[in-house]
């Protein structure tokens, strides 16, 4: 098991995850756009937001790959199947907590249940399971994260 394998898997997996969601976007299944959501947290400029968001998303992908690696190391086993399981769990957490609850709280341009009169939210909040962005969002997100997990797990084990 190698940390470099996990990092490479994190990079490739994030590209695949982003591409998968973009494809789901093209097919009209969802309007979720993670780079846009992340980038608008730091800038109001649309084009810059998308570019920065991509970089932030890639960085987040590497951080999660390190978390996967830490768990793989702790239980002394890895592989694409185990990665898929982690990806499923990761997807569920992302859809129910990370993006649905945490992002609106920390995002300066998104409303949340904590918003009061002093806030003027600009961005549509994701809602439960991010379903505000389309009914197909939960399933698209889950599948994309499962693919991410499989790739991280696979890369980590290939480097054994």
């Amino acid at each position: 098991m190698s940390i470099w394998g996990a990092l490479a898997g994190g990079f490739v997996g994030t590209l695949v995850l982003t591409t998968a969601l973009r494809t789901a976007n093209e097919f009209g299944l969802t309007r979720v756009d993670l780079p846009f959501l992340l980038g608008t947290a730091v800038t109001r400029d649309r084009a810059r937001a998308k570019a920065l968001g991509y970089l932030m998303h890639l960085a987040a992908g590497e951080v999660f790959a390190l978390v996967y690696y830490a768990i793989f190391a702790a239980i002394a086993t890895s592989g694409w199947l185990l990665g898929m399981l982690f990806g499923l769990l990761h997807g569920v957490v992302a859809a129910t907590a990370l993006v649905s609850i945490l992002l609106p709280v920390v995002h300066p341009r998104m409303g949340s249940t904590l918003s009061a009169a002093d806030r003027s939210p600009l961005l549509e909040p994701p809602g439960f399971l991010m379903r505000n962005y389309g009914r197909g969002t939960p399933i698209a997100t889950l599948l994309a994260h499962i693919a991410y997990g499989a790739i991280v797990g696979g890369f980590a084990s290939i480097a054994d």
Partner: protein
């Protein structure tokens, strides 16, 4: 000669109560607003009846102009009968409609907002309602119908903001002082009272493949102001100072609406399937860029002092046509794509004019004239100071070689007839223009000279063909096609684009014969003879402007000026033209606003000015 004083501010009155013709207003009752990516049509009664999102050639969310029942619209009007006056704010594409009722006066300002440095929606339609006097009860109702009315939307709320979504598209309706927005299964609506000095605001915020943005009021107000300022600044930088300046600047602004900023292409018109005959089948989608229009487009852009748009358009054209090199396609999509499959929609059509088509099968036709248009465009570009790289020069030479091989073939001609291909005279003239321009580009060192002797030989052969087989002694005119005895207004382009007959008197005689044979007052039909379609059509306004242009060029300046005066007066109340005009009712017909008509107006005005018609 007087210019059309205040064309952009000319006001007419009309009743805004109920719509007479089964829910439709006249095509001439529409004004266009846009943001360089899409265009909305706003009716005199305050209803937005056409809007495609996110781009002009995307499926519609409002298409009541094509189906009053199922098309979708954004209605906004007083609850009581009103007289309507409207205008564009001077030198802008921001529309101002004033409703005068028994209870008071209210003013609606409509614009498609341009992006700002603030985080804003992907596309944004802004409607500001200012009370001027009294207390006017107002109502608004948004019935979105995505996918040309084929996709059922879901309507929900995010907090107090109503949102509509369907697949990758979503709308948010942000409103301030416009009454509490209500929702039901098919609409978002509200009522409020516009009092003197009150100002309500409704922003229709669109998203495509991304989360919605809900802007605060101050951002929306700022974008409306910035948009108005942008248009004024843009118009102020146009350098035309000849006659009919108001009409020319309005035409420039209309063209700017059709300019697709993401690519540089210019759409032929903003709409699809507005009929050439009420109830007829001549209903086409014009949300594409036609190679045929390219020379006129570039010429007009350079006349107006739009070097940025001219550069973008020229290189977009070369990039798009690279896909099919050396053959050219009749039209390309606004993103440069070559596929534009035609299909029929399940909509009733404007006042029952069916079928309603989107896409355009003319893309697959053979039209020989477009090669002349492209090479003429390249020549105009180089004469305007543009430079062609070696690869582009080789491609243009390859196109000239192709013309040498194919000019003898029959084609569908500039009018895209759906009857059998013929040896159209205009197509042959444009093949002559293609080779002539290739030789001139060679002379300027812009294209390689390897096959120049072939180009010269074939140019001569084309002229011999035209002079021996396309001239009618009986008509005293060139004919519509070889061996025929019919007239065709496109032959005016022989004058405009500089076809050189060995007997220049023939071109002059043709101009007069066309006016006699196809003219009715200031109007001109396209041609005599059949075209493979049922029904009649109106008079093509571009042909009338071509005639004015041609008259100026052959020295009939006074006739050109008189004709131009009449034509400028035929625009609708805000200075826009559709493709055609019904000679019996003077009603505008066909797609609106029609780019080629506005291009022809600009070029005719310039020709008259250059001929001394100041």
């Amino acid at each position: 000669m007087s210019s059309l004083s205040g064309a952009t501010q000319r006001l007419r009155s009309a009743s805004a109560s109920e719509r007479p013709a089964r829910g439709y207003v006249s095509i001439g009752d529409y004004a266009a607003i846009g943001d360089g990516r899409t265009v909305a049509l706003v009716a005199r009664d305050g209803s937005v009846d056409w809007l495609c999102l996110p781009d002009l050639d995307s499926p519609s969310v409002f298409a009541a102009v094509l189906d009053a029942d199922r098309g979708g619209r954004f209605a906004l009007q007083p609850e009581t009968p009103a007289q309507v006056q409207r205008r564009y704010l001077p030198d802008t594409n921001v529309l101002e409609t004033t409703f005068t009722t028994a209870q008071g006066v209210v003013k609606v300002t409509d614009a498609m907002a341009l992006p700002s440095s603030d985080l804003g929606p992907t596309r944004e339609l802004i409607r500001r309602i200012d009370g001027l006097s009294g207390r006017v009860p107002m109502r608004w109702r948004i019935t979105p119908a995505f996918g040309y009315g084929a996709v059922l939307p879901c309507i929900e709320r995010r907090g107090r903001i109503p949102v509509v979504f369907a697949g990758p598209d979503a709308l948010a309706v942000c409103s301030w002082e416009a009454g509490e927005p209500q929702i039901d299964e098919e609409a978002i609506f509200g009522r409020f009272e516009a009092r003197a000095s009150s100002s309500a605001l409704i922003a229709l915020c669109a998203a495509h493949q991304e989360p919605l943005v809900f802007p605060p009021r101050e951002h929306v107000e700022a974008r409306l102001e910035a948009t108005t300022t942008y248009w004024r600044t843009w118009a102020a930088h146009r350098r035309y100072h000849g006659p009919w300046r108001d009409a020319v600047i309005r035409s420039a602004l209309a063209l700017k609406l059709l300019f697709h900023a993401p690519s540089g292409a210019i759409a032929a018109a903003a709409t699809a399937s507005l009929p050439e005959q009420i109830g007829g089948e001549r209903n086409w989608d014009y949300r594409f860029c036609w190679v045929r229009d390219s020379a006129f487009t570039l010429e007009a852009l350079l006349h107006l002092g739009c070097p940025g748009e001219a550069e973008a358009f020229f290189w977009w054209l070369l990039h798009a046509s690279q896909l099919t090199h050396p053959r050219l396609q009749v039209l390309y999509r606004l993103d440069g794509g070559e596929h534009a499959p035609e299909r029929t929609l399940e909509l009733n059509g404007y006042r029952g004019s069916r079928p309603v088509r989107v896409g355009n099968d003319a893309a697959g036709q053979t039209q020989l004239d477009i090669y002349g248009d492209l090479l003429q465009t390249a020549l105009i570009y180089t004469e305007g100071g543009g430079r062609l790289d070696r690869e582009t020069g080789r491609r243009l030479a390859g196109i000239a070689d192709l013309v040498c091989r194919i000019w003898r073939q029959p084609d569908s001609g500039i009018w895209e007839v759906r009857s059998r291909p013929l040896q159209f005279t205009h197509s042959k003239m444009m093949c002559w223009v293609a080779l002539d321009r290739a030789l001139r580009l060679r002379d300027g060192g812009h294209v390689p000279s390897g096959h120049a002797s072939t180009w010269q030989r074939e140019r001569l052969a084309i002229r011999e063909f035209i002079e021996t087989r396309c001239w009618s002694q009986r008509l005293g005119s060139y004919t519509r096609h070889a061996g025929g005895e019919e007239l065709d207004a496109s032959l005016l382009l022989g004058v405009l684009l500089g076809y050189e007959s060995p007997d220049p008197g023939r071109l002059t005689a043709t101009v007069h014969a066309l006016r006699r044979g196809l003219g009715r007052g200031p109007l001109l039909s396209r041609y005599s003879g059949e075209d493979g379609l049922r029904g009649a059509e109106g008079a093509f306004l571009r042909c009338s402007f071509w005639l004015a242009d041609a008259l100026a060029r052959i020295g009939r300046l006074q006739e050109a000026i008189e004709l131009m005066e009449q034509l400028v007066a035929l625009a609708n109340d805000v200075g826009l033209y559709a493709e055609e005009l019904d000679p019996h009712t003077s009603e505008l017909l066909g797609n609106l606003p029609q780019g080629l008509v506005h291009l022809a107006l600009i070029n005719a005005a310039v020709s008259i000015a250059e001929a001394g018609g100041e």
